[in-house]
C-alpha cells in the first residue's frame, strides 16, 4: 500500500481522483487487521468487512457525484466510551458488557454526517480510569511498537489501531491525558481540545469538568481535519462552545496564522523532576532543533505544577464517584434479579461485581474526599489549587505561544510494570493533567524514537486558540520531520 494514503489527507486526495480506490483501501485495512489484531487487540467490537463494504458503496457513489463529506473514505475507530447507536458500547467494563446504545453521541453524528465509516469500538481502561489500557475488564491492548509494552491509556485501543494501520484515524477521550499519553507511546498525534470545544453529549462521563473527546491521527493535519468536523456548539451539551473552525487550514498554512517570532516556554518542573534520562535527553535535543529553526525557548518555573497531580486525582475521583452512581443494573447493564431483595443489596452486589478494582478504588476515594468532614480538606482545597494552576498557566500563555514539555516522563512501560502500585501508575500523568485542570488545549506530537520506542513532545496552548496550537504543532512536526511513523510490526504492508 502506498505510503501517501496512510494519512487521511493523502487518502482524500487519492479518492478524489479515483473513488473506487476505497474498496482497495478497505481490503488493505482488513488484511492488516487479520494479520495483527490478534496480537495488538485494539478493538472490543470490530465491524465485519462486509458491513463496511456495503456502507462504502454509498460513500463511493457520493464521491463520484462530487457531494461526499470531508471524512469520506476514512475508517475511524471510536473509543468504547462514546455511544454508537446499535453498536455495543462497553466502556471496557463488565457492568456495560452488553449495552447497546439507542442513540449516537454528537461527535458520532458529526463524523457520520461527513461520510466517515466507523470500523469498530476500541479498547480502553475501564471507564477511562488508567494510563495504560491494562485496566480494561476484557484484555489489555499492546503497543504495536513493542508487543510486550503498553500502548498508554486510557485511549490505548484507539491509538494502537491508528499506529498499527488498522484505522485511518480515531476518536479518543482525554480527562487527565488519555488521548495524549497513548498518542505519545505509539508515535501518533493526539489532541485534547479546550474544555467545551467538543460536545460531550454521548460521551460516557468520567469527570465532567475535564472530559473531552479528542482526535488521534498519524499527522497534525489529519487531527485538525477531524477537529474541524467534531468541534462546535451543541445544544445538547450545555458546556459546549462555539468553534472558530479553520483548524485544517491552520495546519496546512501555519504561517498565515502565526507570527514569525515564535516563543515557547518550558516549565522546568515538568522536565527536571521524575523524567527518565532517555526521555529528557531526547527532549533537550528536540528543543535544540526548534531553536536552530528560529523558535525561542524560554525556561521558567511554575511551582504550583508540582501539586497538579494530587489536585487532579482528588477532583477526578470525586466527579467519578458521582458520575458512576448511575450504574445499578436496573435500566441497563449488569443485572441481578430484584425479586424479594432490598435496593441496598441489589445495587451493592451489581456494583461490587460489575466494576473492576481501579474503578472501585476511585469511587471509594471519590466518595471519601466528598464526604462530610473531609470535603473542605480535600475536594474544596483541590479546587482552589486548580484555580491557581489555571491562573498560572494562563499567565504564562499570555507571554508565550505555547508551553512545551515531554508528553510522558517515561518510555512506554512493560505490561505489568506500573499497574501493581497505583501511585506508580498515577505518576506518569504528571505532564498531562495540567491542561485538563486549566481547561486549555494540548497536543502530543511524536518527536523521536529512542531504543526503538516512541517519544513525544506536548504543546499546551491558550483556551479556544486551537488555530494557533495546531499551526504551531504543524511547524514543530515539520522541524522534527519524522511523521508519519510506522511501527516495524506493519512496515511490510507499506
Amino acid at each position: 500500500m502506498d505510503r501517501e494514503v496512510l494519512t487521511l489527507s493523502g487518502l482524500r486526495a487519492k479518492l478524489a481522483e479515483n473513488p473506487r480506490f476505497l474498496y482497495e483501501y478497505i481490503e488493505f485495512i482488513y488484511d492488516v487487521i487479520d494479520a495483527i489484531e490478534g496480537k495488538v487487540k485494539a478493538f472490543i467490537t470490530l465491524r465485519g468487512k462486509d458491513d463496511v463494504l456495503r456502507e462504502a458503496d454509498r460513500v463511493v457513489d457520493k464521491l463520484i457525484e462530487g457531494r461526499a463529506g470531508r471524512l469520506a473514505g476514512a475508517l475511524l475507530a471510536v473509543k468504547d466510551n462514546i455511544v454508537t447507536k446499535g453498536l455495543r458500547t462497553t466502556c471496557a467494563s463488565k457492568i456495560l458488557s452488553d449495552f447497546i446504545p439507542p442513540y449516537n453521541a454528537t461527535v458520532v453524528e458529526r463524523i457520520l454526517r461527513e461520510d466517515a465509516i466507523i470500523i469498530g469500538k476500541t479498547n480502553m481502561d475501564e471507564f477511562a480510569m488508567g494510563s495504560t489500557t491494562e485496566n480494561s475488564a476484557f484484555f489489555p491492548t499492546r503497543n504495536p511498537w513493542d508487543l510486550s509494552r503498553v500502548p498508554g491509556g486510557s485511549s490505548g485501543g484507539s491509538a494502537a489501531a491508528v499506529s498499527a494501520l488498522e484505522a485511518t484515524a480515531a476518536l479518543g477521550t482525554d480527562t487527565g491525558g488519555s488521548v495524549r499519553a497513548p498518542a505519545a507511546f505509539t508515535a501518533t498525534v493526539g489532541l485534547k481540545p479546550t474544555y467545551g470545544l467538543v460536545s460531550r453529549y454521548g460521551l460516557i462521563a468520567y469527570a465532567s469538568s475535564m472530559d473531552q473527546v479528542g482526535p488521534i491521527g498519524r499527522t497534525v493535519t489529519d487531527v485538525s481535519i477531524i477537529l474541524d468536523v467534531i468541534s462546535g456548539r451543541d445544544v445538547k451539551d450545555a458546556t459546549s462552545a462555539h468553534s472558530r473552525g479553520g483548524y485544517c487550514e491552520a495546519a496546512v498554512e501555519p504561517f498565515k496564522v502565526l507570527h514569525p517570532k515564535l516563543r515557547v516556554a518550558v516549565i522546568e518542573e515538568l522536565v527536571v523532576e521524575g523524567v527518565e534520562k532517555p526521555v529528557k535527553h531526547s527532549f533537550l535535543r528536540t528543543l535544540r532543533k526548534l531553536e536552530s529553526n528560529g523558535i525561542e525557548v524560554v525556561w521558567l518555573s511554575m511551582p504550583i505544577s508540582r501539586y497538579s497531580l494530587p489536585a487532579y486525582y482528588i477532583i477526578a475521583m470525586a466527579e467519578a464517584s458521582s458520575n458512576l452512581a448511575r450504574y445499578d443494573g436496573i435500566r441497563y447493564g449488569f443485572h441481578e434479579s430484584v425479586e424479594g431483595r432490598s435496593w441496598y443489596e441489589v445495587y451493592t452486589n451489581v456494583r461490587t461485581r460489575g466494576f473492576g478494582k481501579e474503578v472501585k478504588r476511585r469511587i471509594l476515594l471519590g466518595s471519601f474526599v466528598l464526604s462530610a468532614g473531609y470535603y473542605d480538606e480535600y475536594y474544596l482545597r483541590a479546587s482552589k489549587v486548580r484555580k491557581i494552576v489555571r491562573d498560572s498557566l494562563l499567565a504564562i500563555l499570555r507571554e508565550h505561544d505555547a508551553v512545551i514539555s515531554p508528553t510522558m516522563p517515561v518510555l512506554p512501560p512493560k505490561l505489568g510494570e506500573r499497574i501493581a502500585d497505583p501511585l506508580k501508575l498515577y505518576a506518569i500523568d504528571i505532564n498531562t493533567v495540567l491542561a485538563n485542570l486549566a481547561g486549555v488545549p494540548a497536543i502530543s506530537i511524536p518527536s523521536d524514537i529512542v531504543n526503538d520506542l516512541p517519544v513525544a513532545v506536548q504543546l499546551i496552548g491558550n483556551e479556544f486558540d486551537e488555530v494557533s496550537l495546531v499551526a504551531l504543532a504543524r511547524v514543530v512536526e515539520g522541524i522534527i520531520n519524522l511523521a508519519p511513523l510506522v511501527p516495524p510490526l506493519v512496515r511490510r504492508y507499506v
Binding site: D98, F99, I100, P102, Y103, Y195, G196, S209, A238, T239, A241, I304, Y307, P310, A311, I314, A325, I330, R331, Y332, G333, H335, S337, V338, R341, W343, Y344, E345, V346, Y347, T348, R351, T352, F355, K357, K360, R361, I363, L364, L365, G366, S367, F368, V369, S371, Y378, R381, A382, S383, K384, V385, R386, K387, I388, R390, P422, Y426, A438, G439, E463
Partner: protein, 96 residues
C-alpha cells in the same frame, strides 16, 4: 491515619458508594488507600488563602436553548437495555 480510622472510613464510604471491598481484598485496598491519601495530603503545603475554588472553567456562552419542544427518544428505545420491564415500566427492587 491510624489503621482503625482507615477501616472505619472504608466501611462508611462503602455505604455511601454502594461498592463493597471483599474481606480478601481489604488489607490490600487499605494499604493502597493509605498511600493515596498521603499523596493527597501534599496539597496541605499549598497556601490557598483567599483563593476561590474552580469547579469548572468559565463559560462565555449562554447555557440555555430556545424553549421549543423537540422530539425525544421513543419509550421502546429507552427501555431496550433494561432487563426487567413491565408495561413500559422498569422494575426495581423494594425501597421500603
Amino acid at each position: 491515619m491510624r489503621q482503625e480510622e482507615l477501616i472505619g472510613w472504608l466501611r462508611r464510604v462503602e455505604k455511601l458508594a454502594l461498592v463493597e471491598v471483599g474481606k480478601d481484598e481489604e488489607e490490600h485496598i487499605i494499604k493502597d488507600m493509605r498511600k493515596i491519601i498521603e499523596f493527597f495530603n501534599t496539597l496541605m503545603e499549598v497556601n490557598v488563602e483567599g483563593v476561590e475554588p474552580l469547579f469548572m472553567t468559565p463559560r462565555k456562552e449562554p447555557l440555555t436553548r430556545e424553549d421549543v419542544p423537540v422530539k425525544g427518544m421513543e419509550q421502546s428505545e429507552a427501555l431496550l437495555n433494561a432487563k426487567e420491564v413491565i408495561n413500559g415500566f422498569v422494575k426495581g427492587p423494594k425501597t421500603i
